[in-house]
């Protein structure tokens, strides 16, 4: 596109839009996302996302497995900052297909783990968002706290990132003895740290000015584009699968669904999406506190099937991952090998809105918008 502009002294000046590649190697695309930008100076006119640089053939791999259980390590690697939630979604889908009832203790431990994982994932989202905006220190504060959550996970299942902990019908290990005391300590410390984080970043005026009124996503557009999780709640839609379609034992806990209120700018801007994540961490702590108080006794492996061979059929199950609705569509043909597994990854769907909400913003705003969508490329590309 070329436009001819007449300058004040009558000469014609030809201006041309510039096409510039942001990524696949760029610090604020959070991985290997490539955004093809059409820019007019600092103003972004169009954004064309190109994904697939981290495609690891999750669905193809799943069809080659001899056992449903073997899919779980692959599911871990989809959303590598929130593996527990991915495992839970897959386990729920497989259990729905197999029609197995799981012991209550398993459900409680799953909830504790997933909420811890949600905090860990939101910490990464918040920390890296700080970096996108240019504040480096909150990032390391967030990672400091996340390390303690990972320590808890390592204590429980032996791995820090890719757990293979939630199995179909059960868990790989019961909680170790020191788990609950360590967790209680963490909760006390973490409450203070959230306040500190708010002082340092959330309510910093520069941060607010950088994120308020940027990347405004109206609620109806968000729903039509299939956005979920903090993206949707940031736009003021009170929709959380944990509350609205309770899976596992979430209906037994008392917590609030955090929504954006447009406190510092328009409803549905980057700051709203950000603050929803900060508030959700507090709600997760509440759920964990209730869960450890009422944790029932039981055997965590009693319902694990010896051979996983579902009847022919298909199931779609969804759960609320830190990024939104993570669903698995599993189709079985009666053998031990899944016939088809499709992952509905929230980051993939949320990312598709990026060109819609970032037209007309500046390059620096684009970093803010990409950060507020909170994508994990492992999940986008699978």
């Amino acid at each position: 596109m070329e436009t001819i502009t007449k300058t004040s002294h009558g000469r014609t000046l030809r201006t041309e839009e510039m096409v510039i590649n942001m990524g696949p190697q760029h610090p604020s695309t959070h991985g290997v996302l490539r955004l093809e930008l059409v820019v007019d100076g600092e103003i972004v006119i169009d954004v064309i996302p190109h994904i697939g640089y981290l495609h690891r053939c999750f669905e193809k791999h799943s069809e080659q497995m001899t056992n449903y259980q073997q899919v779980i390590p692959y599911v871990d690697r989809m959303d590598y900052v929130a593996s527990m939630n991915s495992e839970l979604s897959f386990a729920i889908a497989a259990e729905k297909l197999l029609k197995i009832q799981i012991p209550e203790r398993v459900d409680y431990i799953r909830v504790i783990m997933c909420e811890l994982q949600r905090i860990a994932s939101h910490l990464i989202a918040i920390g890296t968002y700080g970096i996108d905006i240019g504040a480096f220190t909150p990032f390391l504060f967030c990672f400091r706290d996340r390390e303690r959550i990972l320590d808890l996970f390592e204590m429980t299942c032996g791995a820090r990132l890719l757990y293979n902990y939630i199995w179909i019908g059960g868990l790989s290990h019961d909680l170790p003895q020191q788990f609950i005391p360590t967790l209680k300590e963490f909760i006390v410390d973490f409450r203070k740290n959230i306040k500190e984080l708010n002082d340092l970043l959330s309510f910093n005026h520069i941060f607010i000015k950088r994120t308020a009124n940027i990347g405004v996503l109206p609620a109806d557009v968000a729903i039509n584009y299939g956005c979920s999780g903090p993206m949707l709640r940031g736009s003021g839609v009170k929709w959380d699968l944990r509350k609205d379609e309770p899976y596992s034992v979430y209906n037994k806990f008392d917590f609030e669904v955090c929504v954006g209120k447009g406190e510092v700018g328009t409803l549905g801007d980057c700051w709203d999406r950000y603050i929803v994540r900060v508030d959700e961490m507090e709600q997760s702590l509440r759920i964990i506190e209730q869960a450890i108080q009422t944790l029932p006794e039981g055997n965590v492996q009693s319902a694990v099937p010896k051979r996983i061979r579902p009847n022919p059929g298909e199931a779609y199950a969804r759960a609320e991952s830190p990024r939104g609705e993570l669903g698995f569509y599993i189709m079985s043909d009666g053998t031990g090998t899944p016939y088809r597994i499709k992952a509905r990854s929230p980051a993939f769907v949320n990312l598709s809105i990026i060109s819609e909400i970032s037209r007309g913003c500046m390059i620096a705003d684009l970093c803010a918008i990409t950060g507020s969508v909170d994508i994990v490329l492992g999940e986008v590309d699978r």
Binding site: M65, T66, N67, Q69, Q70, V71, I72, P73, Y74, D76, R77, T137, R144, E147, E154, M155, T156, C157, G158, A159, L162, N164, S172, H173, P176, E196, D199, L200, L201, F203, N204, H205, I206, K209
Partner: protein, 202 residues
Amino acid sequence: MNAITEYFGNITQSLKTISIGMGVTFKHLFTPAVTIQYPTVKMKLPERSRNRLYVNMDDCIGCDQCSKACPVNCIEIEIIKSTPEDDLGITSSGQKKKLHVPVFNIDIAKCCYCGLCVYPCPTECIYMTNVYEFSEFDRNNLIYNFAKMTPAEIETAQIKVKKMDEETAAKKVAAALVAAQAKAALDATTQTSTPQQPTEPQ
């Protein structure tokens, strides 16, 4: 008027929040660090930590369960049948071993540390240790060979099996051929690379 209050509000807000932020960072200037000086200081690993795989070959009965459970196919096992007069010993759990295991390779570069191979093992001879520092310059060095049989032993075992097969029935000729092929394959691998013999960690 509104614009003016907003203008001065912005300025005071900025100065206020900046000083709050500076207070937070200043406080942290004097809080002790949370990082440790790896590798001189190491974190204590929890009991359940999953790191490098180890196989206790004395207990392995060559059942191939771990290899089947592996989602990334990083375990390679070959077996040779034993003759009735062979005494292969018993495992620590008292089970009688019936198969020679001439090849037990784990490609630790492919391993995804999921631990799925550990659970099905009937004799609990494959397990994850707490060794996590084993980087190598050559990827081939990451293929660990756990089998203890020497080439001579393998050959005698194969000859014995062959003999037994010839003696017993003609239908077992096919099985002997498989073993011969296995030997050829093994020769080929030993020529190209000499996988190291890992030791059990302390």
